[in-house]
Amino acid sequence: MDALILLQMLIAALIGVVVYTAIGVAPGTDETAVLAPVTLALVVAGIPLPVVLAFFMAAIVAKKLTDSIPVSVAGIPGGVMSAPMVEHAMILKREGHATLAIRKMASGSVIGTLVAIPVSLLLAFLLTPLADVLSQYASQIFFVGAVFLALMSREKVISLISIVILAALIQALRHFYWGMGVIPEGQVVFISFFLGITIGPMIFNLAQLTVREERRKMATGEPKTIKIYANDDSDDTSSFPNPFRILTRQEAVSATASSVLGSVTFFMSPVGITIFLGEVMSSWVKGTVEKASRALSSMDAVTNAAYIAGILIPLAALGIPMSPMAIGPGNAFFNAPPVLTLEQNAHHLMSFGEIAVASILGAGVALLITYPIAVRYARHICVFVFQRIPHEAFLAMFFSLVMLLAYMDAGVMGILGVGVLALVAGLLNRWGVNYGVQFMTLYAAPWLMGWMA
């Protein structure tokens, strides 16, 4: 690895940190929806993989650090993963420790990152011998994965039914493109279907706006009101905040243990693990404030660890996206035709060393920049984003990115196909079929339909 690539990785990490520090704060931003299109575009554009990985790691760590900010400052989740933490942050706020929450969460994040990278690389090293076996049965594994995630979800019946329905729709669209002659027969469209599922909920929302009855239900006379809590201890102006001083020894131990468990369970749903471990770790703590602090620091540590392990282990060891994280936000590293395919992806093209260096560099840059900023300027960042960046700008950017990649895949027919798929996926999502089930189905579709035919 030469100096030029290292410099590019550094620059990419810096860009990732700046962009995703802002996006992390914005309410309601889903990790998959905000990261997957950008990463896909970078990979397809031919940016060297270590540079994209450094960008991605920096973006994930920065986003995870900052999406705790609105939780502590305004009691609203900055992303899907931070939703379970709102309750505990509200307790701290009620007790008059609003900014304590962000410091505990951000410090938990730091521990999660510091623990997860070495643990994941070690696990990856141990799991490597499995890779050949697993990749032979990839389609079957994805199908079993879809069924497993469906059975673990709240809406089991519709999730199971949707596996077959979505698979049929996806294969129907592929044959439609081949039949129309917009894609050479045998070439498999993937990116635009993936994105169609990703922005399904948003497209479904936009479509609802065109229906008078639905629009009336979505209308409100008032803009969303966000309450920004008062600062309780603005005296923290020490040079560089130290996560090990902010957390008590017990909190640091809990956070470390949670991070290890979160890394080992990389193939499970990170939200589920987060809630579970947060409750377990805080269950034997007495005192409201102490309990909430313990839960917050542990939960933030787990989300970070689950994310990092979820991408690093499949990437370094397995070569197929076998975790909700790898199949969602990090999907571009495994399948981004024509640049990467399931048989020839970042796992095959990057050495273990390159993966390790890119991850450590990206995560390191993000920690060094975002952690002190998050701890010290949480309130300012929040107020800036809420007051200056309109939600319309985010919606329009993701919408246009998906249109771009759909057009690139299959022209005007590609845009139509994505529209159909996004509507169906969005409706299923509304009914409780989660992304994990839908993405696994996307991978299993050719095999499943071939087997049923």
């Binding site: 006379g221 969303k224 007051q387 057009y407």
Partner: protein
């Protein structure tokens, strides 16, 4: 129907107005797709210009449109 100018819509967990949403889409989509379609090949150039179009559209929308959120800042009331 409520008066169009004062009615907000909840899309993707935040409030927008129909007019501004249409404006934002009308700014971003042509810049992004147009950048891709009208840039001469070879390979990565159209995509890069398209991505720049997406960023430019975001910047224009962020500067020109007003967020529809009401901030209630404790201690500054």
């Amino acid at each position: 129907m409520p008066n169009k100018t004062t009615s907000y819509l909840t899309v993707w967990d935040d409030t927008v107005t129909g007019k501004d949403l249409i404006i934002a889409l009308a700014v971003s989509t042509p810049l992004t797709l147009g950048g891709f379609i009208f840039t001469p090949w070879p390979a990565p150039m159209p995509l890069i210009i398209g991505l720049c179009g997406a960023l430019l559209g975001f910047a224009i929308n962020a500067v020109c449109l007003r967020p529809k959120r009401r901030l209630d800042i404790e201690g500054e009331a």
